[in-house]
Amino acid sequence: MRSFKKIFLLILFPFIIGCATQVSDSISSSSYATAESDQYISTKKLDMDLDDLIYFEFDKASLSPNSKELISKYIEFAKKAKAIRLEGHCDERGTREYNLALGEKRAIEVKNYLIIKGISSSKIKVISYGEEKPIDVESSESAWKKNRRVEISLF
Amino acid sequence: MTNNLISFINSIFFHLFLLAILTLDFSIFTPQSDREKIIPIEFISFPAIKDERAKRNNDSLSTRRNNNIEIEKEIKKISEQNNNKLNLNSLDNLQKQIEETKFFQEKKEVQVRIFLIQKRINSIWKKPSLINQNIETEIQINLAPSGEILKYEMISSSGNKIFDDSAFRALANISFITEVIGMDRNYFERNFRSFNLVFKSKD
């Protein structure tokens, strides 16, 4: 019976999605806001004695307990900082546009964790470079491990 | 259409099989002396049907080889049966067994020749690259026993001129199908005097 329900839901699922996206919002050209320029870039990056790289699994955006511990060490400084920049990256495997989105998901994951810890979301800037800016250009397991990262910088 | 026919015939076979089994059961009740006259039904061998199906369904080399092995086995089995039952069976029955054996021999022979012809024509046919189009051209070929192609004509077109042309080009490059040389004349007349080549764009 339960599996029957599941199947029923599965059948229904595309329709639910279909309904949900029915209301496609049109944004008129007049309401465009020009994208904010990165004002904080001009201010000096804060130097800290902390590892500023958070690593991820392949095709995953979730934080490991180790990473959470590392981010927690930032909280103190982050509260004082004017701005926080989170840069998401991926390894070379997989497609480029998908990796661009995945890098963003990774940075957002870190951002959400910071927000939970009490950092104001308006201070946090998120950007993804996908697989375009690898640290190590080699095609090896160790290189990929280094490249799947979010870089934290405080200003 | 042919598929429907095949399945229809198969279903008839199946029903006949059931009937045959039923009659066999009844025949057990007949006296010993009469049982000799009743044809041993276990001999009406179903491998014949199996073989037909396998031939239709599988085209790959390995299965074809297996088929050949199977056919050989079958021939052996039948000849063994022949030897064993020589004294028991009626002359009429023996006649039929010999026919059966011949039938299998012909099948085997024809299978081997078909395989060789396929291999040869595959090696010279330069198939145009038509991605994702599932089409076929059927060409009828008339042969002389020497293997000489007497005539070929298109039975059904694929609808794609380039594809049809490619099949004709392959045939224009050969004037003999030497693969049929040296086979039993009767087998040749029954199978290769006139046959159809089906060129398929997809496997």
């Binding site: 996206t21 320029s37 375009e132 | 015939i9 046919w125 330069k126 080009r169 764009s201």
Partner: protein
Amino acid sequence: MKEILDRLIWSLNQRTKILKTLFFCLIFLSVSIDAKLKIEISQGSKDLPKIAIVPFENTKTIKISLSHLIEENLTLFGEFKATPKNEMLSFPSSEDNFFYRDWKILKVDYAVVGSFKEISGSNIFIEYFVFNVPLKKLILKGDISGDINEFDQISKVISNRTYKAITGLDGIFNTKLAYVLNPDKEVYKICVSDIDGSNEQVLFESTAPLMSPSWSSDIKKLAYVSFEKGYPEIYMQDLFSGNRESIKTLGLSNSAPVWSPDNKKLAFVMSMSGNPDIYIYNLKNNKISRHTTHYGIDTEPAWSPNSKKLLFTSNRSGSPQIYELTISSNRIKRITLDGDYNARASYFPNGKDIVLVHGNNGIFHIGIKNIRGRFINTISKTTLDESPTISPNGNIIIYATKNNSQGYLAGLTLDGKSKFRLPVKFGSVREPSWSPLTN
């Protein structure tokens, strides 16, 4: 009593006999239905069709060899094997002095012959013929006139027409390729070249990453993603004037622009607060509409040939898979089921098959799948293959791959007979995008 039993047995015996005869009759009947032997041929030869391009006869001494250019074009993707000049038995120049037997001996499948003469000044007139040798048929008779300085262009036109006459497919020798060139770590270029890799032109150069070049269907503009302002933004650049304009949106991250085949819309991906979704930008009225709302990643849109559907990659099921979106109803259908990574799909010109990046256990190949079928047929052999782009005639795929962390472009024909590498560039090359046909 015994009499009755005997009778019964007798009748049963009769019945068995009848049934048996019937049985054999049917066996032979079934054989006789199939009496006409049918032999199926489906594989075909691995050999390429042989083509002979006879040097074109000319009235005056014109140094450039037109036949050589045509030969280079037709053999570019490994679809034909050219017959060397020194093997040719005769050098005909028209229908009148062409003898099939000279070419049948060489087992040539097609022969191209022609001649040209100067009309006035640099203007030339070319007449050419294409023969199907085994069938002894003239399949194309054409002429063209043009400037002697545009030999390259003339050879491409003749190649295209010859290709069409032989294969029935559109010739693609005057199409172009856009790609991203990364000569060293800090320099990114959007480049356009002829399909054979020659005449490379840099359209835009930046120290920030550049991504996702996409052609407009009139081949006048190119859309791409630039990080020049610190975040991904979509630019549309006019190829001739060099004018660039960006699409202004509310989102801070815009990517993966793709021009619709009817040239009226641009599908792209916009992320508002970390949720990348598929949007369509209407180029006529500058309106933007949203077409997916799932919280997972939705990206890599690709238009169907009729501009009514989009393929896209989504990880809504947990791993990246291909989905099809019907734009008018926003109905979404999952297309791929096998494998743990299926991404960046695009339609073949027939709209029924798709090419995609298929990953399994961290190995990525180019795959082909029927939109309704189940199985993905992998066609490339290297392990980091991505960004497949299909030729406008649907017969060739070019993709990006890597060797020793150096990106290069490779290609293959769909019949699997030919694989090739595009000329090596100085630097890493990626994200090839094949232009539509120029008319």
